[in-house]
């Protein structure tokens, strides 16, 4: 099972698939767009992550209408969505605490 906290590429892949089923290239573009160009996955990195997420039953293959050119779509499973929600809650908690601590203090 994918350990929590999730690494940034895995988190971005899961967030990308949370919205809608996507195929590999669509995930690559979405991850780059979501991170504002800061994270660009290589195909090797992407398919290493997809293979592990498939094995852990966090994502599953999805029969898309557009199966041309070797395209295979993936979507989040209920298990994957539950873990993603847990991670999002953890990040929210972290950012809330961090925001409180780094906020300028009134004297």
């Amino acid at each position: 099972m994918e350990p929590l906290p999730l690494s940034e590429p895995v988190l971005l892949i899961l967030v990308s698939l949370a919205e809608a089923p996507r195929h590999g290239y669509s995930i690559l573009k979405d991850v780059t767009a979501m991170s504002d160009g800061r994270v660009t996955l290589s195909t090797g990195t992407l398919y290493g992550a997809l293979r592990r997420l498939l094995n852990d039953d966090w994502i599953e293959r999805f029969e898309d209408e557009d199966t041309s050119r070797g395209r295979q779509a993936y979507r989040l499973t209920a298990n994957g969505r539950r873990h993603l929600q847990t991670e999002v809650r953890r990040l929210k908690q972290l950012t809330r605490v961090a925001s409180l601590r780094v906020a300028p203090r009134e004297r």
Partner: protein, 176 residues
């Protein structure tokens, strides 16, 4: 480049290649088309990132197959493979040199062990013919070549970075 990509895919374990090989090639082809309109430095970064990602991914898959260890985030190069501006760490040549030295020491130790088990007097040595230069020298040559190529690649990327050519991508043409 697709042919090269396909050949590098053979570094992966067969089951991974069978399951994802076609998809990876299709995604690479699409990504390659999208960077074809970009500048030379962006294309270089793309090919470098893809090559590095493939090699690191193949190593991780083999490690997983052999040991069952899943190494996402444990191996430092995985973090490098996702960077938008691909570049070698300055520690890379040092790390590669250390690996090369470790291999040479291992070979030397293995030779010493063999000599202790089979003393030189009882073993016919030489003259050495071409057929003796098979596995170990080939391996050493391969590592030396990989090290050399890595150094050249690092020097090129470093020189490009020093020249500031990577900043050209961020420039917008025309003024209003």
């Amino acid at each position: 480049m697709l042919a090269l990509y396909r050949s590098v895919l053979y570094l992966y374990p067969e089951d991974h290649r069978r399951e994802f090989g076609d998809e990876m090639q299709a995604v690479f082809a699409e990504a390659e088309r999208s960077v074809a309109v970009l500048g030379a430095s962006s294309r270089m970064a793309f090919y470098g990132r893809e090559l590095f990602g493939l090699i690191a991914g193949a190593m991780e898959e083999h490690i997983r197959c052999l040991t069952g260890i899943r190494s996402w985030g444990v191996l430092p190069w995985r973090r490098r493979a996702m960077r938008s501006d691909f570049r070698f760490s300055k520690a890379t040549p040092v790390l590669m040199a250390l690996i090369l030295v470790a291999i040479l020491i291992a070979i030397e130790k293995a030779t010493a062990i063999r000599n202790s088990v089979y003393p030189a007097s009882s073993v016919h040595v030489g003259p050495l013919h071409a057929e003796h230069f098979t596995f170990v020298p080939s391996l050493m040559l391969m590592f030396a070549c990989a090290y050399l190529v890595g150094m050249i690649g690092w020097a090129i990327v470093y020189a490009l970075h020093r020249s500031g050519v990577h900043r050209l991508d961020g420039m917008k043409g025309g003024t209003e």
